[in-house]
Amino acid sequence: MQLSREDLLDSYRRMRTIRAFEDRLHDEFALGGIPGFVHLYAGQEACAVGMCMNLTDEDMIGSTHRGHGHCIAKGCDVEAMMLEIYGKKGGLCGGKGGSMHIADLAKGMLGANGIVGGNPPLAVGAALAAKTLKTGKVAVSFAGDGASNQGTTFEAMNMAVVLQLPVIFVIENNGYGEGTGVSYAVGAKDIAQRAAAFGMPGVTVDGSDFFAVHEASREAVERARAGGGPSAIEMRITRYYGHFEGDPQLYRAADEVPGLRENLDCLKKFRQRVTETKLLEAAQLDAIDRDVATLIDRAVAKAKAAEFPGAADLTTDVYVKYA
């Protein structure tokens, strides 16, 4: 599938929305208005968007504790997301999930996940449902380099190969699992090859290159949809902020992030490529930037003004029906 101009604008809008959303959360969190743990996705935008541009609303994704980007890339409502992260009524999960459990099943977003390695088996299940019910849908498990070491991930990869399920394992290798580097914690170093050892195609792409991510994802999604079974894609990328908000990132040298922001920023690279090749004009991208800024301002204002869930909400939605 060639990306049309419309697709490119859409891709840029999604990536810019993620960046603005996360930058704003970084600021707002520092001011103290957001409860709990927040893990930001800024820097990794091309990974989520490059993959999700190949998916429909009916396809399903499983996400991680760093899940806002996956939500936005999959088309979740940004205002409802912001409400959820503030724990407010009207949030995507009614304020009962928060940043780490944000989900929108109607958009095929099966949830951020507070457990590292929590979603790969679930994505396998989503793919099993697709295959059994012959819906033609595919499932994508987004996981990090940390999750790539978890037994659940290995079990999920093996089962996906055994049952030949339409699932894609995306490993976003952002260099750190919490505060420990990949070069220390991933024994095999090459995560894609380790995935390939389970018996599926495994490739590595530059996660800051939207076009490379999109192309690798397209191949994997087409293979899965055509009944060709699972694939793995390792996307090498960085995160700009800490593991969690408030993390001083003492495990990174002072010049590491500024250098990456300068040279490997996925939004800068995208803008440069589409303007230099005359696919899009800078003015079109600038207009999106302004739209997105307005959207985020409105979402934050709405979230701050909204009410918290009421006491009656504490005990609802545990079961469909109990006693």
């Binding site: 399903m60 499983g62 949030g91 995507l92 999960c93 009614g94 304020g95 009962k96 999930g97 459990h101 989900a103 929108d104 099943l105 109607a106 099966l110 949830g111 996940n113 507070g114 457990i115 929590g118 790969p120 088996p121 679930l122 994505a123 396998v124 299940g125 989503a126 793919a127 099993l128 449902a129 697709a130 295959k131 059994t132 019910l133 819906t135 499932a139 037994g151 659940t152 079990e155 999920a156 093996n158 089962m159 055994v162 049952l163 609802t316 939605d317 545990v318 079961y319 469909v320 029906k321 109990y322 006693a323």
Partner: protein, 337 residues
């Protein structure tokens, strides 16, 4: 009505529900068996023969033999359940929950609440429980208290073939995740079981013996022991009410409290270690809601606070016995405040 074994009742239920609803699938280790071997498919039909024959009618796409990877089994079943299937996943022995619990209690059990009521997870986890199989510490526990502790799960412990069919039918048609605990020593017990499908609602205890001197609450295999004791003591004019709650989550609290109000004496039998057990849970419930009715301290007949031993005489000592239950009944009857 035909006499059927507990095993046949469950097997028949799976056939009927899979015929009724194409979204029902069965998955687990050797639920058929024989895939990838040089011999026959359906070589096992489940390690204890409970799923025998299903693959012949429904095929390998609905009767799915999995690798021995419990996290992937439970997670895939949970992920499939929120995406339109109604999986019946088998956890061969409940003792194996330790290698897959995250997918059950952090994922499946919490989807609905975490996602603000938008998720439905119609998942049944069938598992075997119980000592007396000479299978020692890692294949003999009951562990239902641990699952009962988790909001979002329902926990079912059938004590006989009739209940097994009605409760499993309910579990498969239920829209919440259900842990269905099958005691290994009940598989060959028989009861009258109707051929047609029927459901038994969760949270409704069965009073298997009526009486007004003392109440016994007992689950699963222990319900049989309680009935035995009740029948024996009737001859001595001790009138025993036996309550089999059938599900620990939801729990039929009213029937238990009413029994204490009627009899003033309670013995709870629980094939589990005593700490944080269902026995303690029910004792706490009764103390809170029926304290004034108690004529004697509540007696709890449980396993000791040890792993399940291997040596047969030790295992026999480990399991609550009719003799221990009888002694507990006599003790509460003899109590003089």
């Amino acid at each position: 009505m035909a006499k059927k074994t507990f095993r046949q009742a469950i097997n028949e239920t799976l056939f009927q529900e899979m015929r009724r609803d194409p979204r029902v699938i069965v998955m687990g280790e050797d639920v058929a068996g024989g895939q990838g071997g040089s011999g026959q498919i359906d070589a096992y039909g489940g390690p204890l023969g409970v799923t025998k024959g299903l693959i012949g009618e429904f095929g390998a796409s609905r009767v799915i033999d999995t690798p021995i990877t419990e996290s992937a089994i439970m997670g895939a079943a949970a992920g499939a359940a929120v995406n339109g299937l109604r999986p019946v996943a088998e956890l061969m022995f409940v003792d194996f929950f330790g290698v897959c619990f995250d997918q059950i209690y952090n994922q499946a059990a919490k989807f609905r609440y975490m996602f603000g009521g938008k998720a439905k997870t119609p998942l049944v986890i069938r598992t075997t429980i119980g000592a007396g199989f000479r299978a020692a510490a890692q294949h003999s526990q009951t562990l239902y208290p641990i699952f009962t502790h988790v909001p979002g799960l329902k926990v079912v412990i059938p004590s006989n073939a009739y209940d097994a069919k009605g409760l499993l039918t309910q579990a498969i048609r239920d829209d919440d995740p259900v842990i269905f605990c099958e005691h290994k020593l009940l598989y060959d017990t028989t009861a009258d079981v109707p051929d047609d499908a029927y459901t038994i609602p969760f949270g409704e205890a069965e009073i298997t013996r009526d009486g007004d001197d003392v109440a016994i609450v007992a689950f699963g295999r222990m319900a049989h022991f309680a009935n035995e004791v009740a029948d024996k003591l009737t001859k001595e004019k001790i009138s025993v009410r036996v309550i089999d709650p059938r599900t620990t989550s939801p729990l039929d609290e009213d029937t238990i409290i009413e029994a204490v109000e009627d009899t003033g004496r309670l013995v709870i039998v629980d094939e589990s270690p005593p700490r944080c057990s269902i026995a303690r849970d029910i004792a706490g419930l009764v103390v809170e809601h029926a304290f004034g009715a108690l004529k004697a301290p509540i007696a709890q007949v449980t396993c000791p606070h040890t792993p399940v031993p291997f040596a047969p005489p030790l295992e026999d000592l480990y399991i609550p016995s009719p003799a221990k239950i009888e002694a507990a009944v006599r003790k509460v009857m003899a109590y003089k405040g």
